[in-house]
Amino acid sequence: MNSNGEPIIEVSDLVRRFGDRAVINDISFNVHCGETLVIMGGSGCGKSTLLRHMIGSMKPTSGSVKIFGEEVTTMNEREIGRVRRRFGMLFQSGALLASLTVGENVALPLFQHTDKSPDEIEQVVKQKLEMVGLTGFEDLKPAEISGGMKKRVGLARALALDPELLFSDEPTSGLDPIMTAVVDQLTLKLTHGSHMTAVVVSHDMTSAFRIATRMIMLGHGGIVAQGTPEEIRSSPNPEVQQFIKGEADGPVPLNLSQEEHEHHQYVKPRPFALARYRFHHKTP
């Protein structure tokens, strides 16, 4: 762990409840400058919720999230805007504006937050699109490109303002193995070369082990394991081993009943679930 000075992100005692169900239950960790933190865990374990708390689009029930030393959970919209200009975010779907072209999408933060001339912006857009391997795609609409390409445009847009910090939600899902490697190399280049810090939510274990300097595994609303990739790989925790090896058999069961599922994942119970189950299965 290369902890030089103050952490860039400081999450402490974070709790988020939906009703009486705690999706995030007392999570604390720090991210230091130049680190690449990979957050992993099964579907519905609260990875995306955690990410949304870090970017300030969700407010926690209790606890604190500090980014660049500033508390984001109590900020008003204008203050949070100031912090958000310093980081980029890649959404799982890319989240490109469908009414704009690829080039306009990448140019959007530049037009909104810098005084650059249109020519300079065009240059930056070209350069960022080249970084993600999409030279010459400026004039296409998001509907005209594939899902993987959208994601790469989303990455180019997240990098448009040369952020100090990058959040990625599943950056490599939907990409072919070659493009996954390209995106991973880009992340490595940015974190090693430009001292960018990255927080990546990922399911893709190959990619995760390639880029991570530290990993956190979430489960049951809390942190199951954390450490360097080597520590995670040699973790004695059977849940971690099952997850990184991708085995169907293990402590995380394949078939869950409603109650078991709630116990494992804290997923909101559906109303009348039991009645519906009895109706369909005609149990005595």
Partner: protein
């Protein structure tokens, strides 16, 4: 309702206060929206207004002829169009065409995380998406109403000229004599108020969509129904204030 009031307040902030703090809204998107909301609705507005003008003239002829008062047909067409039918019917067309499109567009952006992406890029969705649509609607609905009034009067003329014993000059003179500038202005005020109601309801519905494609559909339908009701009730209130209270 709370969301709706919040949207209105934040809209006023971005239009009236933010420009003085150096956050001026961009002009180009307003023109783009004016084309979409206004110019492209013009053919539908023209057809509607023409039909209404023709209908009004025929109904007026039917009733007034029996009293021997055909000369008042232009008066009736003109006043009805300027004061009531013009603003209301054109608002109905714009609600159905542009209001629903705005609700569906913003709703789709909401469910595909585009609005959240804007927020995370520190771009305020109200400033970026709602302000241009609002200003475009505020300009285009009254403009369409004036345009529709002209076409409606043309419809009335067509009936009077070709089916009754009017000549063109007689129709125009009679129509102009009957109407006061206040008749036009009251219609314009109404259509400005309708523009406000229609676009804020549509944007509010779009920005608060939940639950995927189904949610977008519900929000769109909901926005059309709410905008129609609010517009018609507001029309009754304004008519009461303008023509009944004095």
């Amino acid at each position: 309702m709370k969301n709706y009031l919040q949207l209105n307040l934040s809209l006023l902030y971005w239009i009236l206060i933010a420009p003085f703090t150096g956050q001026f809204f961009k002009i180009a998107p307003i023109f783009r929206q004016m084309v979409f909301i206004g110019v492209r609705a013009a053919p539908m507005v023209a057809l509607t207004a023409f039909s209404v003008g023709v209908t009004l003239a025929m109904q007026a002829a039917h009733s007034l002829q029996s009293l021997g008062a055909e000369m008042y047909i232009p008066d009736l067409v003109m006043l009805t169009l300027l004061r009531e039918m013009g603003p209301v019917l054109i608002a109905v067309i714009v609600i159905g065409r542009s209001g629903s499109a705005v609700a569906a567009e913003l709703g789709t952006m909401k469910v595909s995380e585009e609005i959240e992406a804007l927020e995370v890029m520190a771009i305020n969705p109200v400033q970026y998406l709602v302000v241009p649509r609002f200003l475009a609607m505020l300009v285009m609905l009254p403009a369409l109403t004036i345009f529709g009034n002209y076409i409606g009067i043309l419809g009335g003329w067509a009936v009077c000229r070709f089916a009754l014993d009017f000549n063109t000059a007689g129709y125009v003179l009679r129509a102009l004599q009957s109407a006061d500038t206040w008749d036009l202005y009251s219609g314009m005020i109404k259509s400005g108020v309708f523009a406000w109601i229609v676009i804020t309801i549509a944007c509010n519905a779009g920005l608060h969509v939940e639950g995927g494609a189904e949610g977008v559909g519900q929000a769109t339908t909901g926005s059309v129904v709410q905008a129609l009701l609010a517009m018609l009730v507001m029309n009754a209130v304004l008519t009461g204030i303008f023509f009944f209270s004095a």
